[in-house]
């Protein structure tokens, strides 16, 4: 039975460092939510707090309708898959998977080796447990490994055992802490599909931690971007990509990273990018950041007339990386000297080259609607409205 998870104002301080700062989050039952962020942002800590492995300093945790803030991990109806899998090395695969059930259903006396077998009801329960273990093992296709030890298994097999151990409890919430980071690239892709299938099959709530945004984007119902101990934005992968609310989110999601240029604004509603003036619908503080994705830059002829909704960006070419169908062009802004990365189909690049224009100097065009604007603190501003060319200062009439 899937359970919802609700975090309210979680705070966690390690020494002098505030690892989690007033974090609140609601996860719907059955959802696949990924906590994504750079190393050290606090996402693993948050996961462990949900699991009940790390005590937090203030705030509440609810799982289902229950307040589990004061409950230990075993009573929270959660399972966890660790980055290192954490399989008990001295137990067989079957015993590993059976452990949660044994802890739950057999009292301490019944668990004593040898003597415990004589505890009344013990045999029946052990039989039940063995059945459930076999069923789960079949689901992840490790039935033939039940009598092996973890040391004899490959990375992918161990991962499945870890997942089986988590599944056998039939928890309301699955917690996964970077379970794929220790696998090689090909296996990772395969296991991603398996985890997704697992989610479909069990319908349980999944809370998944990773630093890899590709995993986040492909697996999740929703993604929460965690940075410096705060949840910066929560939304579906598309929302995060198409509508980032913070410059950090904009930079983190998408590969290659979004280009950002710092632009001065000397009066409300107007921003200057060297000689081009751009209208802004709201007042901004001195510096704003303009963001635009590499794939939205179009190679333009210098002579093309740009409309009121197109921004032209002159750039100096530095190098190119051919990816296959597309190529990445690494350039520098002609005046601002900031790095700009563009993604264009190789065919277009070839075409430009064949025209024989000076290949060093390029002009990119971008539709204003595809630009993102952020204020100096990184928060998102409403979109820019128009562009007009202004004469250089010395030619202006005051």
């Amino acid at each position: 039975m899937a359970a919802s998870v609700s975090l309210a104002q979680i705070e966690k301080v390690y020494g002098t460092k505030r690892t989690l700062n007033n974090v609140s989050l609601d996860v719907a039952a059955g959802e696949f939510l990924t906590l994504v962020g750079p190393s050290g942002c606090g996402k693993s800590t948050l996961l462990r707090i949900i699991a009940g492995l790390t005590p937090h300093d203030s705030g509440q945790v609810h799982i289902g309708e229950r307040d589990v803030t004061a409950l230990p991990a075993r009573d929270r109806n959660v399972s966890m898959v660790f980055q290192s899998y954490a399989l008990y090395p001295h137990m067989t695969v079957a015993e590993n998977i059976a452990t949660p059930l044994r802890m739950q259903r057999l009292p301490a006396i019944a668990r004593i080796p040898l003597i415990g077998r004589f505890w009344p009801g013990s045999r029946k329960r052990r039989a039940e447990i063995a059945q459930e273990v076999a069923a789960v093992a079949a689901q992840v296709e490790i039935e033939n490994l039940l009598h092996s030890r973890p040391a004899q298994l490959s990375g992918g097999q161990r991962q499945r055992v870890a997942v089986a151990r988590a599944m056998v409890k039939q928890p309301g919430v699955f917690l996964m802490d970077e379970p794929l980071s220790n696998l090689d690239a090909r296996l990772r892709v395969h296991m991603r599909a398996e985890i997704s299938a697992l989610h479909q099959r069990t319908g349980a709530t999944f809370i998944y931690v990773t630093h890899d945004q590709v995993e986040a984007m492909t697996l999740s119902t929703r993604v929460a971007v965690v940075m410096d101990g705060c949840i910066v934005q929560v939304g579906t992968p598309r929302e995060l990509y198409d509508d980032p609310q913070d410059i950090r989110v904009a930079r983190f999601i998408g590969s290659p990273e979004m280009n950002t240029l710092a632009i001065t604004s000397d009066s409300p509603h107007r921003a200057w990018l060297k000689d081009a003036s751009i209208q802004l619908p709201v007042q901004a503080a001195d510096t704003v950041h303009m963001g635009f994705r590499p794939e939205h830059l179009k190679l333009a002829d210098r002579s093309t007339h740009h409309g009121a909704h197109t921004l032209s960006i002159p750039a100096l070419f530095e190098r190119m990386e051919v990816l296959g169908h597309d190529a990445l062009l690494f350039c520098r802004h002609a005046q601002a000297q900031e790095t700009i990365v563009a993604r264009a189909p190789v065919a277009d690049v070839d075409q430009m080259r064949s025209r024989g224009n000076g290949w060093d100097k390029l002009t990119f065009e971008i539709d204003l609607a595809q630009t993102f604007w952020f204020n100096a603190q990184g928060s998102r501003l409403p979109p820019a409205t128009s562009v007009c060319e202004i004469l250089p200062l010395h030619k202006r009439v005051s």
Partner: protein
């Protein structure tokens, strides 16, 4: 203390699987230059003497006596048929039987306790290790006083509690036990350090997984994670403690001289007397060979018994 020295560092290294490294096929002479000094020493101070001891055991050599002859296995026969030898062996084994559980369980208990507190670990480790560094001969005299039949504080304590004073070193029935107490006292701190090395190697993840699985009470964690993963360390500690106990000498030589009435005669002390006091070298050599055999059997036995259960990493 020699094997104690051996023990500790081997502990930490033995439990760590060493990665296969490329080795270079340099001219043999180069490698041998490195190994030469040690090899020479090994030959002269270890191999040769051991061979000689074995040879001597087949003679009736006595230091200072002019004629020596090969007597075949006579020495062995006389030693093995001498009830004294079995008495001495029994004493030594009894002593070992007292010391090993005491120092192993004591060391484990100390290690778990010390690692379970957040602050002050280093202080406790230091305090409990101090007896190991102390000169045993010196501390033996202290213990002699502590356990003195009349004026020792332990007996004074017993007296104040209403018990009759115990002649710790004067009572033949007690003396081995008293020596064992000193042995445990000296060894527990050392074993503690070995166990701590083993505890430190246990990944924290396993404890977390155990918590989520439901084993979060201290006893559950101990039996589900701690004890099984301490397997190799446990084996090592038991073997080295047994060997150390088997080689007891200092306390006997200083405190009891084998008395009272031979109740504390142990094998090394007997060899010492035989070879360096009575100068019956041939006979002592035979006893030495038997002693070595016992040691090898002891280590082999323990390794076989526990190895199967222990090497799963």
């Amino acid at each position: 203390m020699n094997t104690i020295a051996t023990a500790a560092i081997t502990a930490a290294t033995a439990t760590e699987p060493t990665p296969a490294k490329t080795k270079y096929r340099w001219p043999d002479s180069l490698a041998w230059w490195f190994a030469l000094p040690a090899s020479f020493l090994m030959l002269t101070t270890l191999i040769l003497p051991v061979v000689i001891v074995a040879l001597l055991s087949f003679t009736n050599y006595e230091l200072g006596m002019p004629d020596t002859a090969f007597v075949g296995i006579d020495n062995y026969l006389s030693v093995l048929s001498d009830p004294k030898f079995w008495h001495v062996l029994r004493n030594t084994l009894l002593y070992t039987l007292f010391v090993v559980p005491g120092s192993v369980i004591g060391g484990l208990l100390l290690a778990v306790l010390v690692q379970s507190v957040g602050k002050g670990r280093r202080l406790y480790q230091c305090l409990f290790f101090l007896p190991v560094t102390a000169t045993l001969v010196a501390m033996a005299t202290v213990w002699k006083y502590l356990l003195h039949g009349q004026i020792g504080p332990v007996n004074q304590l017993l007296h104040s509690l209403g018990f009759t004073p115990i002649e710790f070193f004067g009572d033949p029935g007690m003396v081995l036990f008293s020596l064992a107490v000193i042995g445990v006292w000296q060894l527990a701190g050392f074993n503690m350090v070995l166990f701590i090395a083993g505890l430190v190697a246990i990944p924290q993840d396993l404890y977390d997984a155990a918590s989520v699985d439901g084993a979060d009470r201290p006893l559950d964690r101990f039996f589900t994670v701690t004890l099984p993963l301490l397997g190799p360390t446990m084996l090592f500690v038991i073997v080295t403690s047994s060997l150390t106990a088997f080689k007891v000498f200092d306390t006997v030589a200083v405190l009891t001289r084998g008395g009272p009435q031979g109740a504390s005669e142990v094998i090394l002390y007997q060899i010492y007397l035989e070879g360096f006091q009575y100068l019956r070298t041939g006979s002592a050599a035979a006893m030495t060979v038997l002693f070595l055999a016992c040691i090898l059997v002891l280590s082999w036995l323990q390794t076989r018994i526990t190895e199967r259960k222990v090497h799963y990493l």
